[in-house]
């Protein structure tokens, strides 16, 4: 099965999200990442490969070492995609706040 390779695929998996979080703080090589997780170097290596294919990691090869770092600019794609929807909910809820306040003051007047 061919799967999508984009930033959404990258963040779909909890382990991959953790790897991104780790590398966002400090670039590391595959061994260093593996040391932080309860899984084999091979499994970590596979996640790194996926993340690289998704375009969210830059992996620089130096001899047998693979130095991984996050490409933060890729994540604005997620933000841009969500932003209109987030704004819609914020605007909606501000209106709901007003309604609730109105309901409250009507009750206070009655009692």
């Amino acid at each position: 099965m061919e799967s999508r390779r984009d930033v959404f695929q990258a963040i779909a998996d909890p382990t991959r999200r953790e790897i991104i979080g780790l590398l966002a703080r400090k670039p590391a090589n595959v061994n260093e990442i593996a040391a932080r997780f309860d899984m084999s170097r091979q499994a970590v290596s596979l996640h790194v490969k996926v993340l690289e294919e998704c375009g969210v990691l830059s992996v620089v090869r130096a001899g047998r070492e693979r130095r991984c770092s996050v490409r933060p600019e890729k994540f604005t794609e997620v933000y841009d995609w969500l932003d209109p929807l987030r704004k819609m909910w914020e605007s909606r809820f501000e209106q709901l706040d007003d309604v609730l306040q109105k309901v409250r003051s009507t009750k206070t007047k009655k009692s």
Partner: protein, 168 residues
């Protein structure tokens, strides 16, 4: 004193689910009423500059809310929500859809299943947790493109103007 209210908003694309969580400074009965009574819903449901016009609302399991969102140029978008799993002041579910004026579902547009949970944090505040699940991951993209992004931006209004000019 006005407290700043934070909203948690997240999208799980692979599970085609949107989660929204928000606290309201009001007792749970008031918040429940605002979500389930047409007179109140009409005052907040549609995001600006749209307004909500309810045609009918029958809040019971199997009942339906027929409403439209009307834009500043009177462009009207009809929708319906079919209620399910109502547990008064605790939670309810609904299955939403875009429709035509008669309330017939437009099957070309995404449908989603909603679960809305209400929890009293204390006597005077309530947390609402909304889970919206779409049938397909593409539906999420589609809904953002169609309804929420273009529909509520000036771009579409400009487009409407362009069409009007062409017609006239």
């Amino acid at each position: 004193m006005k407290r700043s209210l934070t909203m948690n908003f997240s999208v799980d694309r692979d599970n085609r689910t949107i989660h929204v969580k928000r606290e309201f400074v009001a007792p749970v009965d008031d918040v429940w009423a605002a979500w389930t009574q047409k007179e109140l819903l009409d005052q907040w449901w549609a995001p600006k500059p749209y307004r909500t016009v309810t045609r009918s609302l029958d809040f019971r399991d199997g009942g339906t809310w027929y409403y439209s969102m009307v834009g500043p140029k009177n462009d009207t978008h009809w929708s319906r929500a079919d209620y399910e799993g109502i547990r008064p002041t605790e939670s309810f579910g609904m299955y939403d859809a875009f429709t035509d004026e008669e309330g017939t579902v437009n099957t070309d547009l995404p449908r989603s299943r909603w679960k809305v949970d209400f929890r009293a944090s204390d006597d005077n505040s309530t947390t609402v947790h909304i889970t919206i699940r779409y049938d397909k991951p593409e539906d999420l993209d589609k809904i953002i493109e169609l309804g929420f992004k273009e529909g509520f931006t000036a771009a579409l209004e400009n487009l409407d103007e362009m069409f009007e000019e062409k017609v006239n």
